[in-house]
Subunit: 325 residues, 2 copies
Amino acid sequence: MVIDLDAFEHNVATMGIAWPGRTLRPHVKAFKSTALARRLAEVGHTAFCCATTREVEGMAAAGLGDDLLLANEVLDATRLGVVAARGEARITVAVDSSETIAAAAAAGIREVLIDVDVGMPRCGCAPADAGQLADQARRLGLGVRGVMGYEGHVVGVADRQQREEGVAASMALLLEAHDLVGGEVVSGGGTGSWDANRWVTELQAGSYTLMDTHYAKLDLPFRRALHIEGTVISRSPKGWAVADVGLKCLGMDHGLPRIDDQAVWFCSDEHVTFGPRTGGSVANIGDRVSVWPAHIDPTIACHERLHVCRGDQVVDEWAVDLRGW
Amino acid sequence: MVIDLDAFEHNVATMGIAWPGRTLRPHVKAFKSTALARRLAEVGHTAFCCATTREVEGMAAAGLGDDLLLANEVLDATRLGVVAARGEARITVAVDSSETIAAAAAAGIREVLIDVDVGMPRCGCAPADAGQLADQARRLGLGVRGVMGYEGHVVGVADRQQREEGVAASMALLLEAHDLVGGEVVSGGGTGSWDANRWVTELQAGSYTLMDTHYAKLDLPFRRALHIEGTVISRSPKGWAVADVGLKCLGMDHGLPRIDDQAVWFCSDEHVTFGPRTGGSVANIGDRVSVWPAHIDPTIACHERLHVCRGDQVVDEWAVDLRGW
């Protein structure tokens, strides 16, 4: 797995102009690497989103625990409470029910955000219920920092105007909830709504750092910065080649990966079979091939390390140290 | 990740009657665990297939190196040569080109199988070319044990008669190659062709041990033995529930996982959203839910350990120790 450092730095700089410092809360689920997170902290993004308890533990242990939000519901917050008790990190947990509020309080968590359903069928309470959940949390001694809500159902809409309208409608729901909840934080958004979401106090974006072919379909200024470098290990006279980059090293939920100037036929566990587009030629045994994943988050979770390259030179290696749960 | 030990033992016993001892060469790519492989070795299946160099290294280090076939092409066999030089394992490598033969010889590998294209567009030489590749290998001092060819394009055909005809046609090609190559081994097949393939001297099956919803569509006597145990962390009054089993812990290339009596709507990185089928009710926060993966091979590769259960009791833990490359 290879990172193009020039593209990564371009992406970080571009996002940092629009969302400087704490107005961006990078989502570590997209890259699962404290080494990469440290690069973001160094340019001022010192608050992070996490999706798993393991991510919170790892970020805290790496000294990146200034302000960690577990943007996810948990019914057993014991391990988070252990991290909080050590004083290693400021930990805030998303809650959307009495049960998740009780779990946070029982584990010694001190702060929560009320997670609000803004239109995507996943976690989050109804906007109208956000106020009473905040009251419940406060009665249990929890600090309620505000609200969060992710407009995941619209961030990938290709048409810009439709995307902007969808984001605006979602954020109207989130602000309705915020009026009932109070607090300083309105957290939401992502790479796809980076320039459409004008309402959150902090943007939860992660994919912009490395990008993938799914996000590349949108009109975003971020460059693709991550690929899998493979080798052609077999070639058929019938018109295809096979490289050693299979579905076990790729997130496949968004479909097949891309190989420039070639048609990807299918992936097996450890292989990708591909052939030339009209007029092209079949790759040769030994050729290096760049395989561009459709979805970076689960792709990175398959790997142990990121090879960081400046041009053709490997200049660093970043561990993918936040895998697992 | 949970293994139902009763179902696993049923599967192992059922396959072992049809393909006893060395006539079965279990494919470790399906489960990536030396602890599970040891169970198979204990009942006589002491020869194994591997898909990656890491799998070969791990099996050899675990003392399971009696007869390891890397059923895959490699252009750099250096690490395999190191294992072979230690005398820890008998290593055979699949080859389908002059380049892969040269790589095996250069690394000190002693034995190969000629990999033959039997109809699936992936690795393997044309049957008519198998003899000259075997000659090349022998000239370089390699022992040629025979041929292998995987009829992966037909093992999943739902109609039994069509499946059997497809297997027969593929194996005719493999035997044509075997006539040109010689040697004792004709290796091929898989879980889907376990009772349709009557031509190989050893069957390369792995998925039968644990099964998945994809193979469950076929009329096979193997029971599903692996699921992900999740917890409902959120529930919407609009009619859905969310469990903490997302696409990062599932192989998604064969599609969505299954939850019995519920309709799976979609998976996010760390969530599955699901709702009741007609007449059912929405799951409650805190409910345990069994999520059945569509494809076990990449699912297991997402995890660090298998929790082995007899009924409701966790009786053992098997490390998934053959991940990576």
